[in-house]
Symmetry: C2
Subunit: 324 residues, 2 copies
Amino acid sequence: MSETLKVIQTPIAEELIRFDKYFRAAMKSDVALLDRITHYLIKRKGKQLRPMLVLFSASLCGGITPGTYRGAALVELLHTATLIHDDVVDDSDERRSFFSINALWKNKIAVLVGDFLLSRGLLMALEHDDFQSLKIMSRAVKMMSEGELLQMEKARKLNIDEAVYFDIIRQKTASLFASCCETGAASATDDVEKIEWMRLFGEKLGIAFQIKDDLFDYGQDDIGKPRAIDIKEKKLTLPLIYTLNKASWSERRKIINIVKNHNTNREKVQYLIDHVYEQGGIAYSTEVMYDYLKEAEQILDNFADTPSKISLIELMQYAVKRKK
Amino acid sequence: MSETLKVIQTPIAEELIRFDKYFRAAMKSDVALLDRITHYLIKRKGKQLRPMLVLFSASLCGGITPGTYRGAALVELLHTATLIHDDVVDDSDERRSFFSINALWKNKIAVLVGDFLLSRGLLMALEHDDFQSLKIMSRAVKMMSEGELLQMEKARKLNIDEAVYFDIIRQKTASLFASCCETGAASATDDVEKIEWMRLFGEKLGIAFQIKDDLFDYGQDDIGKPRAIDIKEKKLTLPLIYTLNKASWSERRKIINIVKNHNTNREKVQYLIDHVYEQGGIAYSTEVMYDYLKEAEQILDNFADTPSKISLIELMQYAVKRKK
């Protein structure tokens, strides 16, 4: 883990260790194959941004409770399940792979493991009559799947404007961030205003996080090649949408033609990327990303200045400055 | 639909129409792509055995309530989701396809649609504070995914005996049948004994249903070729397990070698099938299937003789006599 993240975690360091134990226990299964896979997943654990959001949100709203750990585990089970499901692809060459579980164990197993993790999360919440977390999380699953499908639908037709773009990222990414903060807050307080503030905070942070992700696509990969995975998948994101809107009719046709018919031609894709930079698509998207971050930070004015709040603000900065 | 099923449905014919409306409404989405797929799924609806089990179980336990329709819709959403997830494959040639959704829309969409349907079911139950159905169904999802994974694990090693076989089919198939009957009963009565009887009834019926499915593998497909899909997937089912147990050491080695290394060689597979017939593997499995059916029917002795009960017994017969 990066040093920055370690520092950010300081106010909830012990709590994260307790969460980790809780999470491992939640993944246990009697089926040996399943146990081996979840063991592997635990070892490869990511940045744990989402459990951190749950814990910090609870901390801001009065303090971490047993329900907070459950909420954090539920979020992480769900996030892991969607990552695994996200890895099920038609052609593994076409997409980056968050987990190598797909290559190792094949699509079928990936789907089943995802379903198993989802059901574990549900049962955990049900065992504790934690219906509020369940509602929050079920809504998130619905929004995430609808958001992804909306994006795929639009990718076919290439008819996406800014409004649709924000609709998609609000659903497919920001909804889970919002749910993390909402469920964390709800585990600590009954104050509906505070819970709604935290939900909104999470949503705005999630939008900024996704814009950052989309900006990565215009950067380079580890070996210096243009990333351009979204372009290969015909996903139009903010930098390109902005550029298309500014473009003349003939320029627009040229770009659309590249995305449609030449999205694996390295030279043409490089031309597209350069064009987006020149037209200010990157600068504009970066500005919008910081606008959302600012709006998120303003919401935190409603909460007392505590070490957790300071860390949460640092976490926001990390979310838009991270290198991957 | 077959005439037999239509006759069986008579006592709940109107209720099934009401269920159908409820179910269609539950699938609605604002995303056009999603709406087109669910529309397609509704048109291709199967035998609806599971919603029928929910409605009949409620009927036996005191009568159908609004909660019964919800339980039936939840079951059918979940069943549809698992069918769609089940269709996600590494190589479409290798497996039969329940839905052609996979060929039409690709793996990625199939996973997302499955997730969407699961979340719709959850939200529907949560909106009505129907926690009992949720618990029953979450347990079913967990058992089904664990059961499938257990079968895949065992298929690799080919070390499966009767105890493991029944463990697998109890989890991957009978758990959902049990849940249908349990949730239907629970929507009609608080009598825990009745609910448990119905759960057990569903489990035994589900086991018989799966043995029938496994027997199909030793029959012929529509164009008269041996089916043998399980053998191609190295799944050992009851007819073969019985035969292996009876076999001498050298016979056993020969059969295992076919499953392991020649499971796509038509002649060798035909030899295996003939051998299973000769050794009585089909007769034995059929007998066991009828034993489970009989045990299920005996449980129904606890309930009054009503048109619904008579239909439920006919449904049991249909489950083991169906042609596909």
